[in-house]
Every structure is written in structure tokens, then in C-alpha cells.
Symmetry: C2
Subunit: 583 residues, 2 copies
């Protein structure tokens, strides 16, 4: 089954094969991908399309001396198979041993950890410049998909590549779509280039000062070897535009590349996410039908936020996919808000951080009535590149943003309905990561900064963000049963401001405030509470994540690692109380 | 002197003039600019070049119904003169009444507050889309300079403009340079377009799906009126490329447009900034001569960080200006670091926030040994768009970054020398905003996380960031004289981590810790200290800025507004101590 692949320990073994054998190798890699990714999950369609190109790159170039950079790097599975990590894909007992992205900790063939988009050409420009400064001679190759090309940083990189002026080979993997079908003027242009077999008089890359070459069949390993051999050791920057087929060789993926772009593991269930996506579609759909100025915006990653192809089609002109362009998407929304429309920007937490400056300038400073829905925030079993733990830092410290963290679906819907229609301020809503019952009437639109007292008590108060209210309830119950303390439970449903009357009330009959937040503590919510009470005698205990990158840690493990379970918290409170009594 | 200008109360008055009178008006505006900006400071050269275009835009288009968006907006002075705010430029007693950027709080003709670059087309796309959704009909015009075109967000906007597909007019103000001379492939292309009178077969904008028109003399008001009249009410997006002369009509500005891009007020002195710029050039120059792999990178704004034309020229290939592309610049540096070079990225604090995602991904996650020098951080008398108060939030919460805040020049030099040569980690150095004596030997390269105890004492401890150590010293002296307390003075020269042994030592014989930081408190340094001591009996008082945008507030006023003077702090301590004693 894995005859050829088993013999490949490094790219040197690839280079010993004949061209016919490369074709066999490609077939074997492809069937391995379908089997492996079908079971363990991962980026299927994007990898299927890039099998031949990966083989050809390692065949022609002298990796790792020649340096290969993957933009996004979710298309690196074949690369991993050819660089000593095949067993992670061929042996079910080793599935998932290696991450789904390039990682220098795994292999010298991986130069960077990359997971966000459009940085590959910039990184390659840096490698090329360093090579030139140090008087070295080797090829630098960046692999970038057409989807990543929509991101402005890719343009910045291409623009600079022309100035670097020496060897730099940009392989543009054009499969006619990013995660979802592409939109934007540049994609019309790529289509025209494909149509003209690369020989169009108008050529974006040439206008930017880059040389250009086209390979019509980017899944023909012979054609690719030929093309790469011709550009090897080139003395100036060139774009090699290869036309590949996303999902190539797997009928289901070829027919529906969007659905198979990322395949969830066979065992995966995410009922909360699915429910919140459904509820969001329902509310937005209803709002849009009533009001033609409501518009949903996404930045090239609709699947993570539940914007299904059917829903997008139903929205018509009230949906806009900007491509992978978070900065532009936020400014675009600010423009629409100024023009009287009601934009809702739906974004994954990990990508929201890309628009930090626009949150400050275009939303906060301009007080633009835009609604931002942040999905995938919190602790998740995910690659470190996609961590969703920085969203509170990204939004909660920006002047002018009203940041809401509902705990339940009812609260979420109330906030969403209010936010879309109000015209005073930018609102960020952190979509909860779990389903929790209750919450009707908690959010008061006339006082969006008011927190919710779920249980009035004394001595100890828990301040929770979003779904951590559940953990607070459990800790409170445990505290009641073990220590006879009837704690106060506060849901801090607005994490951008303090409910000062409430906090001041706590001072009267509480000794300890415990904050709980599903993100890193640094720059987060708990620290602000600690500052608020800093001058008082109130003890503040903050629970959340450390300032670190955790890689593919099972979701529940986070809470253990961070001493963030009901048992841990109660034990900490007991220890603190004992310590206090002794003083 | 101001004959024409005095009669212009709104653009409607411009529209009543004949073409010859428009020329006279332009001359009058130009001489007003030279006089006014020469005295009060501001963006001179960029405004001089855009006088005729501004007049022609208001003459042809029906502003404010037709919507005019300025990218960056530092070229809006003539626009302000024509929209009811001329006296702010003609009457010395009213100089500076209005800000140097568009501001909706000032006028309905100003749609957005804008100061960072490359967002104009995105905002205009939003206005156009809102117009279409709401069934309105008017022109939307974005004005963008060629410098802003290097920023990826501008590309994202242009790419989407093609997709919006309806009326959208992008006026590209091409003066052949941004702040400094332009670099990058696109500028070669703009030069080719100018050379060919706009009739080149290769056209970047057309390849992106945009219509295109060229105006060779962008300072000829008749030609501009003619061109704008032809595109008015157009039913699709078009780029109107106008070739203007930066500094037009003012010999000094025409000869040295970089020096006159921004003119400091006649009264301005900034000795600390200048000294730090000089010292930085000296250290970098020396390092570069010894080591060809040391390279200085800037993102299109060299003047603010002291990268003079002479210094840049002397660097040769060891200097690289990426254009206004902070995300790319950081990734480019990460690539160079990986390739074995020693990159130093010099950036203004206000622009550093544009690379937040790259700080996380390309620097922190990849542990890239890049040195980032942040200039202009802290409280300054500056437009709210350029606030330098978010840098601690931007960098101090990112895993993997070592963030240093020297207080003195000696410390700064020690840190810079160490950072360039070390190969383990990304380092951010916050260049101090004031000159303070002393500091030799404070920074210990073998323990970059160790803080400096400048004075050992008891009861009260001051933890200062950077130059706020001076304020701490004053408060300490006052406290000694008024209350007989001999306080401890700690300089937290590393704000990305805690010196835990030191903090724990403080617990033994201190009741109060006072933190001082020159930036917003939210997400900053003091809150982390408050969290650290949250469980203990230590009182923590945090001084810094509120989470708000302050606009053109005199530097010293910040400290008064934020109750952040030695007298205020000591009074607060006294009140707190009294309060404690009463409990």
C-alpha cells in the first residue's frame, strides 16, 4: 500500500526516482491523504491539489539548503510525508503525531510556524535578503495559494520582492478558490491569465516588476518538474503560476471543495458551535429580510462562523466576502456604518487580532456602529497558530468598543438584535463556546454596561466571562457544601467596562473576588478587576490562561493545566482563607 | 490677502467661481499654507501638492451629498479651508483651532477620523455599498496618495472596489514619493504609467478590474475639473491617477519634500527624541560596519525614528524601507532572522499596533530574533489618530516577546547592543521619551528579566516603566519630606515578565506598591502587578492613562488629567494610609 512512500526518508530519496515513479508516488500520497484525513480530520482538498507540486519542488530544488516557505502552511501534508514524517499519515496508530502546519520543531525542512495567511512572500523576502547579506547562494521559494493572495500582506510582500531583486521564486498555487469561492478583482484577473495560458498582455505580476511563468496543469508532475527546473537558480524574482485542482483525485472533494477544505475528525462533535451558528443565521436572516441595510461581512473564512453556501446565497447582496482581508473588512464595515447600513462582521477569534489597528482607528476612534461577532474564542484543542485566546486583549482594551460576553443563547440573541439596530457605537459580541441554559432578560439594552447578578451572597464573589459562569456555579456549589459559604455569582456580560456600582457593593460584604475568563490573563479582564480593587482590602484571584502558546492541547486539559477547575478554585480559596486567618 | 478665501463659506461658494478664479483661489490657499504651517507646524509639502485637486473635487462634485474620503487625511488642509474652516489657517490667533486630519466632529464634510494609512479605499467601498443597499445615488470619492498605496489594506480595498462594481472614484494622488522616496515594485509601475501618459499596455489597476484615467498635470485646476467632470456619476469603479508635485509652489518644499512633509512648529523642541535618534544611529552604524548581517528596516516613515536620508544612504544594502507595510515589515524581519541576519525594525508606537498579529505569529510564536525599536510611545501632544499609548498593550501581552523599557540612554544602548547580537528571542525596546541621567550597568544581559532597584526602602514601593522613574523619584522625595517614609524605587525595565523574587521580597516590608506607566492602564503593566498581588494584602495603586482617545492634549496636561503627578500620587498614598488606619 505504501510501497513508494515507505522508501522516502527525505527529499534526497525523491530525487533518486524517475519521472514515472514520481507519478506513482503522487497517487500513493493522494490515497494516503484521503484515508488519513478522512479519519483524523484536517485540510483535505487543499492538500490533494498540491501533491504533484510538492513532489516536483523537492525533486528539483535542493531542500533544505534551498529554502521552501509555505504561506498558511495548511497545504504541507505531502511535504511532511516527503521529509521524514510519512508514518504520521500512513500508520493509523501515529495519526496526528505531527501538526497540520509547518513547524521548525519537527523538521529542518519546516522554516516557520505559519497558520494565518498572506505572510509567506514576506518571510521569503526576508530569507532572500539575509542570503544576499551573508553572501550565500541558494534558492528561496514561497508557496502561496490564490486565497492568500487577497490578503494585503501578500501584496506588500510581492511589491517588496521586486525590490529585493535577486533569486526569489513565488509558486502561486491557483486552485480557483480559497476556502470558499474567491471574490475580488484579482480573481477575475487570474481567470483571465488562465484563459490566456498565461500569455495575456495584462499581467498583474509583471506590472509589479516581477517575472512570470504559467503552468496550465499544476497536477502534472512532469510539467511542474520542467517549469521548476527552468526557474531554479534564477537571478531575479519570478512568479510561477500553477493551475491546480482543489480536491484533485477524490470525487467528493472535487465536487465540493469548500466542504472538504477542512474535514472535521470522524469523532468530532461541536454541538454548541453548531447551535450558535444556526441561531446566528436565523437572527441575521430575519433581520435582513426586514431591513435591506443589514449586511453580513466575512473575510474569506465563512465555514468557521457558520456562513454556509446556502445561507450566503440566500443573503444575496446583503452578504459580502471580502477575501482574507481582516483590516479591509473592518474598515469596509466602518464605511458602511457611516453610510447608514448595518454591517455585521463575523470573524474567528484567531483572525480578529489581524485587525487590531482597525478596531482602534476605524471602529473605536470613529465610534462606528458596526457589530463584530467573534467565533472560536477561548480554549480549544487547536494548533498554536490558531489559538483563540487573544480576543479579550484584542478588543477589551480598545477605547470606544462595547464588548459583550453572553453566557447563554438567550443573552446572545438579545445582544445581537440590539447591536444591529443601535447607531451609537461599535459592539463586539463574543459567541459562547458552550451551551448553557437560561439567561432570558439578563441583557438590558438600556444599560449595556450592567453586569448580571445570578446569585446574591456574601464573603466570596465570582465574576465570570461568558460560559465560565458554569464553572463559577460549580465552584460556588462546592464552596457551599464544603465550607458553608453562600457566594455571589456575577456574570460580567460586558468586559470592556466595569459595573462600578456593583463592584463597590461587593466591597461591603465580600472578602474575595474570583475572576474567571476563557483566554489569557495578560491584558485580559481579571487584571482590570485586580486593579480596580488594588487600593482596597479585597483579595482578587484571577483564573485564565498563561501568556504562552499551547499547541493542540485537549480542551478540557487547559482547565487542568491552568488550575482552573471548581475543585482547584475552591482549594485555592480555602488555602487563601487559612492564610489570611493566620496572619 | 485672503480675498477669495474669505468669501468661501462652503463648497457651494467654490462652485460659483469661474475657472480663472479657481486658479487665483489655489494661489491664495498655497500662500496661506506656507505662512500658517511654517508657524504652527504640520504637513506642508503634501498639502501644497493637493491644492488644485481639492478645489476641483469640491467644484465638480456636490459635497457633502457626494462623499469624499481622505486616506491618511493629512492632505486635507485645503479641504478644511473650503469647508468653513479657513480662519483656522488665515487668522494667526486661530491657528490650530482645527486638527490636521479630517474629523466628523468638526464638519459634515469630514466623514472619518483618519491618520493611519491605506484605509481610504476600504472606507469608500463601504460608503458605496451602503449607498447601493439603501438605494441612494451619489458619488463616492476616495483620495489616496501614492505612499498609501504600498500598504496592503489599500490593495485589499482596490481589489474589493472592483467587486462592489458601482460608482466609486479613487483619486490617486501620485507625487512620486510617500513620506520618503518610494520603494517597491509598484512605484516602478507608476513611473511607467506617468512616462506613457497613462496609456501603457500594462496597467495594474486595469488588471484588478478597475477602470483607469490619467491626468498628467495634477496641479492644473482646469485639467482636473475636466477629468473629474468626465467621471462624475460613473456607474463603475475608476482610478483617476493624477500626477502632482509635492511641495508645489514653495521652493524649499519642492527641493526637499521629505524635510517639509511634516514641519515641526516653530516653537517645538524635542531634545530627548533627537538625542535618542542620534544615539540609535551611532550604535546601528557601528554595528553595521562590524557585521554585514545587521540590517535596519523601516516601514515608510523614517523621519519619526531618526532615519535621515544621509544615514539611510550610508547604510547601503543594510537599510530597507518596505513602504507603509508594518505587517510585511515584521514578517520580512522574521524571515531575515531565520536566514541568519540581524534585523532591527524601527517603528513609531502608533504604527506598531498595525502589526499586532505579526508580533504574535511571526515574532512570538516563531521565537524570531528580531529587534523592534518603538519610538514615540507615551503621552504626547498629538492628534488622537496618532496616539502612542497602546504600545504596551500591543507588545507586553504577546507570548514570547521580551519587552524592555529603559529609563536612561545608557540602559537603552546596553539593551540595543545586546538585543542585536542575541539569537534566542524577539526583543522590543521602548525608546524613552525623556532624557534622564544615569543607568550604567542597570541592564544585565544574562538576566534580561531582572528589574532594577534604584533605591531600597520600606512601606511603599514605586514600580516605574521607562522615564516615569523620574516621577517616582520625585514622589518618593516628597513622601520622605512630608511623611518621613523612605520608599523603595524599582525600575521595571522588562515589562513582559515579572521579576518574581523581587516582587515577593516586597511583600515582607511593604504595604503599598505604586505602578507608573506612560500609556493606557487597560491591558498594560500596572494591572499585571495588581493581579500578582491580588491574593495578598498588598495594596496596589496604578497610575497611567485612561482607556480613551485624547486629542492634541499638551504633554504635561496628560499627567494632570490622569492625577499622575508627584503631588497627586503622594496625596493618594496619604489618603489611602489614613483610610487603612481608620479601618
Amino acid at each position: 500500500m505504501h510501497g513508494r512512500l515507505e522508501q522516502i526518508e527525505s527529499p534526497a530519496d525523491v530525487r533518486r526516482l524517475g519521472l514515472d515513479e514520481l507519478v506513482e508516488l503522487a497517487d500513493e500520497i493522494r490515497s494516503t491523504l484521503v484515508t488519513c484525513v478522512g479519519t483524523m480530520g484536517g485540510h483535505l482538498a487543499s492538500n490533494l491539489g498540491f501533491v504533484e507540486a510538492t513532489i516536483a519542488l523537492h525533486y528539483v530544488f535542493n531542500t533544505p539548503t534551498d529554502q521552501l516557505v509555505f504561506d498558511v502552511s495548511h497545504q504541507c501534508y505531502a511535504h511532511k510525508m516527503l521529509t521524514g514524517r510519512a508514518s504520521s499519515y500512513t500508520d493509523p496508530s501515529r495519526y496526528g503525531t505531527h501538526s497540520g502546519f509547518t513547524n521548525p520543531d519537527e523538521s529542518e525542512y519546516d522554516l516557520f510556524r505559519a497558520g494565518h495567511t498572506s505572510q509567506g512572500v514576506s518571510l521569503a523576502c526576508g530569507l532572500a535578503k539575509a542570503r544576499d547579506l551573508l553572501g550565500k547562494r541558494h534558492n528561496v521559494i514561497a508557496v502561496i495559494g490564490d486565497g492568500s493572495l487577497s490578503g494585503g500582506e501578500a501584496f506588500e510582500g510581492l511589491d517588496n520582492a521586486a525590490t529585493v531583486g535577486t533569486n526569489l521564486i513565488v509558486v502561486l498555487n491557483d486552485n480557483e478558490m480559497s476556502i470558499a469561492p474567491n471574490s475580488g478583482g484579482i480573481y477575475e484577473h487570474l481567470a483571465a491569465l488562465r484563459q490566456a495560458g498565461g500569455k495575456s498582455g495584462e499581467n498583474l505580476f509583471r506590472t509589479m516588476g516581477l517575472d512570470y511563468r504559467y503552468v496550465a496543469d499544476g497536477n502534472d508532475v512532469r510539467a511542474l518538474v520542467h517549469a521548476f527546473a527552468q526557474v531554479k537558480d534564477i537571478d531575479h524574482p519570478i512568479v510561477v503560476h500553477i493551475h491546480t485542482r482543489k480536491g484533485k483525485g477524490y470525487a467528493k472533494a472535487e465536487q465540493d471543495p469548500e466542504a472538504t477544505h477542512f474535514v472535521a475528525p470522524a469523532s468530532a462533535v461541536a454541538p454548541a458551535t453548531q447551535t450558535y451558528q444556526e441561531v446566528t443565521r436565523e437572527v441575521l436572516g430575519r433581520k435582513m429580510r426586514l431591513d435591506p441595510s443589514v449586511i453580513v461581512v466575512n473575510a474569506g473564512a465563512p465555514s468557521g462562523v457558520g456562513l454556509t453556501p446556502e445561507f450566503r446565497a440566500a443573503c444575496g447582496t446583503q452578504f459580502f466576502d471580502t477575501g482574507i482581508t481582516e483590516p479591509h473588512a473592518v474598515a469596509f464595515c466602518a464605511g458602511m456604518a457611516k453610510g447608514g447600513a448595518k454591517p455585521v462582521f463575523m470573524v474567528m477569534a484567531t483572525f480578529a487580532q489581524r485587525a487590531f489597528d482597525q478596531f482602534i482607528q476605524e471602529l473605536g476612534l470613529n465610534r462606528s456602529p458596526v457589530t463584530v461577532l467573534v467565533f472560536g474564542a477561548g480554549f480549544y484543542d487547536i494548533d498554536a497558530t490558531h489559538a483563540g485566546t487573544f480576543d479579550i486583549v484584542t478588543t477589551g482594551n480598545v477605547p470606544g468598543l462595547t464588548c459583550l460576553a453572553p453566557a447563554t443563547c438567550e443573552e446572545y440573541v438579545d445582544m445581537l438584535e440590539w447591536s444591529i439596530d443601535q447607531r451609537e457605537r461599535p459592539v463586539v459580541i463574543r459567541v459562547p463556546e458552550r451551551m448553557i441554559e437560561g439567561g432570558a432578560g439578563v441583557f438590558d439594552p438600556t444599560h449595556p454596561g450592567r453586569w448580571h447578578v445570578a446569585q446574591a451572597g456574601g464573603d466570596i464573589a465570582f465574576l465570570s466571562i461568558g460560559a465560565t459562569c458554569e464553572l463559577a456555579r460549580r465552584a460556588s456549589a462546592l464552596l457551599a457544601s464544603r465550607d458553608g459559604v453562600h457566594a455571589t455569582l456575577v456574570e460580567a456580560i460586558n468586559y470592556s467596562s466595569f459595573d462600578e456600582p456593583l463592584l463597590d457593593d461587593l466591597l461591603a460584604n465580600h472578602r474575595i473576588v474570583v475572576t474567571l475568563e476563557p483566554g489569557i490573563l495578560c491584558g485580559g479582564f481579571g487584571e482590570k478587576v485586580a486593579r480596580y480593587f488594588g487600593k482596597t482590602g479585597m483579595r482578587v484571584m484571577c483564573y485564565g490562561g498563561k501568556k504562552e502558546f499551547l499547541d493542540r492541547v485537549p480542551t478540557e486539559e487547559f482547565f487542568k493545566i491552568y488550575h482552573f477547575t471548581a475543585e482547584d478554585i475552591v482549594a485555592d480559596i480555602e488555602a487563601l482563607e487559612l492564610g489570611t486567618w493566620h496572619r
